[in-house]
């Protein structure tokens, strides 16, 4: 199931929260070898997690984390503007219609469908909140994954070579891509929309869980 949860509500889902931050440590520190901090509980948490981001999380049947990504508005602090403006020609990307998407993470146990489901969720957020683009930082290995699920970003700028190549990219909602992502995820539009609605409408969630 796809869930949309703000940082301050993560405490209501402790297992989902801890497995997400541990999967992030596993992906970014262990597998990708990024220079990220991992705490004593084995969780990767950075300064942007302290800004109450919106997380989009794929929750597995056993309640643990299957994959996730993190959103912040570009009118506040973002990783792209704070650290990667050399990849955007010095342009500070800032608009109420552009959110930053970072820490796209997949659990080792996650199937290919999870990545597609997350992209589908990205589409819900774009359409549901009147957004024009997501902007994000990613490395070379993600390029292949994005292409596979039919959600390749437009590259704004890149730095480094081979596996260390870091890029800033853009996503927007495109009908023709949506169909492909939907197919890769094995989900239906109706279900995806229902999960989105449920996360942002308390009364709706009463109906669905009744």
């Amino acid at each position: 199931m796809l869930r949309y949860i703000y940082g301050d509500d993560l405490c209501q889902v402790p297992m989902l929260k801890s497995t997400m931050f541990r999967d992030r440590a596993d992906q970014f520190k262990t597998r990708l070898g990024w220079d990220v901090k991992v705490n004593e509980n084995g969780e990767e948490i950075d300064q942007y997690d302290a800004l109450n981001p919106l997380y989009v999380i794929w929750q597995m049947a056993d309640g643990t984390h299957g994959g996730s990504m993190r959103f912040l508005p570009t009118t506040g602090s973002t990783m792209v503007n704070d650290y990667f403006s050399h990849l955007t020609n010095g342009v500070r990307i800032e608009s109420p219609f552009i959110w930053e998407c970072t820490r796209f993470c997949l659990s080792r146990n996650a199937g290919a469908q999870v990545a597609a489901a997350l992209m589908l969720a990205g589409g819900e957020v774009l359409r549901g909140f009147e957004l024009q683009h997501f902007v994000g930082v990613f490395d070379a290995r993600m390029v292949r994954i994005y292409r596979m699920i039919g959600a390749s970003p437009t590259i704004l700028g890149s730095d480094g070579d081979g596996r260390d190549r870091t890029s800033v990219g853009l996503w927007e909602f495109r009908d023709e891509l949506h169909a492909k992502v939907l197919q890769s995820s094995g989900l239906t539009d109706t279900l995806s929309r229902a999960w989105f609605e449920k996360s942002f409408d308390p009364e709706q969630s009463l109906v669905l869980t009744a």
Partner: protein
């Protein structure tokens, strides 16, 4: 809503230099949209609170006296959030929320509302709200037609709010980057987007983001408006 009216409104907003002027602008906006209320409330990076809006004074007083900020589902549901929130999607089921809602409606707040929480630089936070009294379907179609503009206006109120507290907090740098200046200059010269992208050796998608970023910084409604504003401010020379 006619674009020209909205452009005129944003022009007046841009010239505002005081909290009083912002207050008057909330009334102007309420008339422009034919809605019952417009409220803009912000908390600066150092925790100072400000407000401007069209609510009845009695309601504002009562709100403070009753300490409604603790139970108001709009505040509870928007605090630390950053997506636009239709009041219908808030939790009004608790007893305190029901009592609050009844009191708010009795004071003319309206049964419908859209609140846009805004996150500014250095932890600044603001909430911009439009409220009205009407049936659900009327409200839904009003929101569908105007949501994007309302988000825009909310952010321009907030840019003004940040500017007004400039004396204490350094204002964010709103000047355009060289790349944005280039893009706006070629657009002002009548180049098409494809030609601008080609000239700057960037993709049209990238150009679109540069234009959107410049549009936001210039407080403009759309690209044409942004180009006009950049020229008026002498940021670009054609």
């Amino acid at each position: 809503m006619q674009r020209s009216k909205l452009e005129t409104f944003l022009g007046t907003l841009e010239k505002a230099t005081s909290l009083d002027a912002l207050q008057q602008l909330t009334f102007a906006l309420k008339d422009l949209y034919h809605v019952d209320h417009v409220v803009y409330h912000w908390v600066s990076a150092d925790g100072e609170q400000y407000g401007a809006g069209t609510y009845d004074r009695l309601w504002v007083q009562r709100y403070i006296e009753k300490d409604y900020v603790r139970v108001d589902p709009v505040v509870v549901g928007c605090y630390q959030r950053f997506h636009p929130v239709d009041w219908k999607r808030l939790d009004w089921t608790t007893k305190t929320a029901k009592v609050f809602r009844e009191d708010a409606i009795a004071h003319g707040v309206g049964n419908q509302g859209l609140s846009v929480p805004i996150r500014g630089p250095s932890g600044q936070f603001a909430l911009f709200t439009i409220s009205h009294s009407c049936k659900d379907d009327e409200w839904t179609s009003f929101i569908e037609d105007n949501r994007r503009d309302i988000i825009l206006i909310a952010h321009y109120f907030n840019q003004k709010g940040l500017e007004l507290e400039k004396s204490r907090v350094p204002a964010p740098n709103q000047s355009l980057s060289p790349r944005e200046v280039d893009a706006m200059t070629f657009l002002a010269m009548g180049y098409s987007r494809a030609q601008v992208a080609d000239t700057l050796a960037i993709s049209e998608h990238t150009l679109r983001v540069y234009i959107e970023s410049a549009r936001h910084k210039l407080g403009a409604l759309n690209t044409t408006h942004a180009v006009a504003r950049a020229m008026n401010r002498g940021l670009i020379v054609v």
